[in-house]
Symmetry: C5
């Protein structure tokens, strides 16, 4: 479920952004608290070992190790730079991934406008077209979105959900190709439209209808593409390695050493802060790299699918040829 | 109300940008003075406590704390880097959010061009189409913009404003769906156009009219999307946490310590400057993250709505078939 | 007047870019020399006061102030980072602002292609359409560009320039709306086209003509938008404050102190260089933030307007139906 | 073969990104292990020479060299900055290079919709059009992609693959032009469509078909362009020189010197880490700069070609006029 | 001539990028070796003067100057930051400048498809249209590209090249306007198409042909725009000043001083490296800022022009109505 906070930031005030810190769902705390606990555990394990268990040469070796990391590593890599560019890439793809989710309201309205008639056959034609359009989206969604896949693990489940009839299911399964067949219902749709045109049922606007179906097809194809061609693995690995190595080194370099004249406050406040900062930034990427998933802040594909089908049927059927009686408006002169 | 200063920067001169510093509305001072006062209060509370209240070990502990933050924190995080990328994202979305506000002048002109006739019925048809287009925008605006929502908290208020008739209101309320129904007036519009086409009133150009309505629908949908899918909460939280923690640490690290050989000027001039810099930058993001709101620099959605309706009616009615008598122009040979 | 230097950088050679340093018009020197003189004046005022006027405790206080700024401020803010992102935003808007200036050649050619006839009435129709298109641009330009506004401060001046006839002027003034009326000539144009279509004068292509007029309308609207919705004031203020404060602090921190062992060269060469660098960068933003203005490097809107009108008339009138006699070309086999 | 890991990052959990570190195919380790081994070999060669072979003045000279690089070079260039911008450019071109790969499903559907008839001649016409469209892509692919070139080193191989008939091959070879002839099959296609239109076989929609072929042509042309106009060589060279010089200097500056008081751990852990970081980042660019190649993470052009042809034939032939019987759907009221 | 190296980077291997370092054409060495020689000459002039000519106070003053620059300048400006953003802007314009070069294959195909007939008159019409389209491009190219200007310094040269006939040349010269007349052949083309439509020679598709010509016109206009409106001079100057001043200061700060304990290797290896790095980066901008020029890596406009004309004639003439005999393909069932 997307976490929407736009109303909370409608007016800029003294506590606009700070107030957001008290949201839990989709928050950096919810995403990070487990990692932080594990990390602190490791930190204290080392710390207590050093303070109470180690003696003599071992203690000295530990201290040398800590200084070694303190001096050398921290300037060695410009982590924030890499992260900035990487997150920037992930964010721009994240929005593209939202935009390519097909919006079927327009296509349904086009069906309602150009396929005229209130008889049962015509209604069935319009409703079936809506169903096929929805069906092709649903098949694409099962490929790219884990929650939708869990809902429709097989095409049989699409039949149960009323998106596919038994006969269609058979035709679908018999089509001889190893590739994903999300385009098949769109083929059916175009063929139906072509028949309606041949029958003279669609007088003008046939091309417009075909074009809308093509646009829908393009949206679906783009979704498949974004899923198939991700950010190259090597990029994600470099970022991950950099962040994790940085914090492993920090485990040592942040230890309070007995030789130090600093304040020994037992709790690594700076380290925790850095952890929230860098891992929070990395979590931004993790949340956004596959927004079709089941995270708090991912797009609600299942909801989108249901709304698409319901509103689509409303538009082509309930609202078909529905026009309120015209009246003179208040500003009529 | 948008703060427009483009005329002031028309010519580049010695004092072009400095002059902008004396604007109050929409300014960084107006946005920040409360935060700055609170922050200075905290700073002086600490400072005076340290100078006059603390003694002995407490004083030493305070000094240690201050040095601790001075040495460690300030290099720990590259705040400006994170901020740069974050603000860059918010700014690019901010402009997209402006661009997607539907401009209805074109669609109204298309109505005026293709739906011909000066009789009352045809005028009513054109005016009603304008009203429905405006109505769909208005419903979208109430969802995304707090000021518009305050103006039209219920659909009843749309009736009072003359955007919806009583009968239409009943039809609107009876449509059985839990989703926002901004698309319903657009459905009515398409249906009316389809009827006019069937009646032969729109000879050519029917498809062009439908396409324009579809473009309007796409704009409205994009506005809804930008509201629904915001910058992921975790990103905003990371930026906010980073900035606030940075300045909490600065409360200590900027204190004048008695052991210091620096100039003790009692007023933390550098700190105030940094505060203006970093919080000003953050305020840029706060102002722009929801530009449909009620800030000084937000888009004036209510004004846009009123202009859209008024100019729309002018175009389809007052200017209908209005062509000045043709004359030879001055450069005629 | 735009400063064009693309020919000078056609070939990359040893002195390609350095040669550009000797251009004066639109140069960083021309834009900055006044600021630099004022700044150096302030610098020497302080320097001479310190060297010759101050004594004892005052001198010591001055020195402390200088060191204070030297140590603290310069690392306090990442000016270049903020500037980089800000200028990047301004530059991308700058080009968008150029692109949205309507190019009317295409629309005029469409008039010439689809409105056929060499008689005086048809010529008048085509020429009037060109005039109205140009007129709508001119009205938009007066809103967004100071030089064009100085040329046409009132609509009366448009009449004098031959862009508006007296009768049209009366109709224009009588249209009852408080909003800018740049769209009115476009309404006239569409209405005229609709009449021509009804008269059968435009057989096919009527929709193409209307679409071109709509594209022109969209360009004009975009220009108005870019003028109305500028970079939020707070962003420009933060950048300006940061740069000015930085250089005020530099006034002190760059002073040669008597206790210093550095070379005392009396002229702050590094400071001047930094000034050119940072203020030059800021000037890039100042020049580009309103490119419709009267700077050396701004777009020549008045020229664009004149060319648009002249070439438009040429296309629809002088070149109407002009086709050279066809001959076999040299490569004919 | 593209390495797809989107399902693995569907949910953000504690070990989402770390788990990716254990993938081998397309990984940073697979790409870098050879380089790293060579680099370590050089490092130890130097190290052991210094420790055991060198004496006296030579040892001192070596130590001076090491310190020289340590002090000077490492701050001399902002490698990460250059790399950030360069990789950013390469990444944005990489995605554009994917997007421009033509998707022929739409064009095939258009053939199936507008070229009606189930007789053998019409089937042959549709199938031939699909084959020609695929053929033009194939010729483009052989120009831009090494794996496809290895598959079809000559046009004879296209004949063997069934994409070109013998007669067509002769016509293809006889066309007198030195330029790549990928556009020729598209010319044939347009000519065939024009004939079908003249014969009245395509009643409406002829323009739509031509437009689709033009879009396909544009995609192919864009692929050729991206191959022809790469990132300027000088940019890639600057980045490469910077990275390699940096690590050559590091060979010296990372040596443990006997005069040092640091921990001598014999293994240059920091250096290895930096190597993975910077060279990993550079490898991102190397992998993405020519994504039509044969790397683990490159686009599978051969697979795309095969799928295109197979699905294309399915759409125009097997699915031609295929419409399941219409039934009332489950939500029928 | 563009330097294409995409095949060399097809597979990522150990020496993929390093191998590119051995290319000379378009390389950073070829672009920089003269600058580097001059720079080294200056460096050694100073160095030898200091070492052998200067004595006493002069030597001390020189040393002070060197330290002065060493301490102060190098942190004073973030050169890499400015360069990063500047080069990023130039690169994005560079690609836009390539994309806007008109591709005439599509328009020629449209001529061949919609203007039917194999008689000499029709062939002449199609060929003439191709010639005029090419001609308008050629005129634009002479304005923006130095190599094309050298080829066609006057319109007479266009006549000699067979792009313009004598009669057309006269008409062209007589058109009374001071502005560049590249749009005139496009006007002729549209007028010819309009006549063909009136004659019934183009039955359908007339609008499609006009639209293609308009797209070509838009491409040409964009090329003119990119030439006319360059990156503002002040931006290029700031970058140039920054780089040159930086390296002038480096001339001093990189001198080996006798008081130094560093290694005196006589050759400023670090400096040369920095020079290659920063000037190489600047050269990227110099090469890309006017890619229509005659650099190694610039677009080959003359080649593009010739190919355009030749392939255009092939498409409309040799390939006119050329369709291979249809056969059953290998996968026919």
């Amino acid at each position: 479920m997307t976490v929407t906070y736009s109303l909370k930031v409608s007016r800029t005030g003294t506590f606009t952004f700070p107030r957001l810190l008290f949201m839990w769902k989709g928050s950096v705390y919810k995403l990070l608290y487990k990692e932080l606990l594990i990390y602190l555990l490791l930190f204290y394990a080392l710390s207590l070992t050093y303070r109470f268990a180690l003696t003599g040469a071992y203690k000295a070796a530990f201290e040398l190790t800590c200084s070694f990391f303190k001096d050398s590593l921290l300037d060695a890599i410009p982590l924030s730079f890499l992260m900035g560019f990487y997150v920037s890439l992930v964010v721009s793809r994240w929005w593209d991934k939202y935009v390519c989710i097909p919006n079927t309201d327009e296509i349904c309205q086009v069906f309602a406008t150009f396929i005229r008639g209130s008889d049962d056959v015509t209604r069935m034609q319009r409703r079936t077209l809506v169903r096929w359009i929805t069906l092709s989206s649903a098949i694409v969604y099962t490929s790219v979105s884990a929650p939708v896949f869990r809902r429709f693990p097989t095409t049989k489940h699409l039949v149960q959900a009323g998106l596919l009839t038994e006969k269609e299911h058979a035709m679908f399964e018999n089509m001889p190709t190893p590739h994903v067949k999300w385009w098949l219902p769109l083929s059916w749709s175009c063929n139906l439209v072509a028949r309606l045109k041949a029958e003279g049922k669609i007088e003008s606007g046939g091309t417009a209808v075909i074009q809308k179906i093509q646009l829908h097809r393009a949206s679906c194809a783009t979704m498949m593409d974004y899923d198939w061609i991700g950010v190259p693995l090597v990029y994600t690995q470099v970022v991950t390695i950099a962040t994790y190595t940085f914090f492993i080194a920090k485990l040592f370099s942040s230890q309070f050493l007995e030789s130090s004249t600093d304040l020994d406050i037992w709790f690594p406040v700076i380290l925790v802060f850095e952890f929230l900062f860098y891992f929070g930034w990395l979590k931004v990427a993790e949340v956004m790299i596959n927004p079709y998933g089941g995270d708090d802040d991912d797009f609600e594909i299942n909801y989108i699918l249901d709304r698409m089908f319901q509103v689509g049927l409303l538009i082509v059927d309930n609202c078909y040829d529905l026009v309120p009686d015209l009246e003179k408006d208040r500003y009529w002169e």
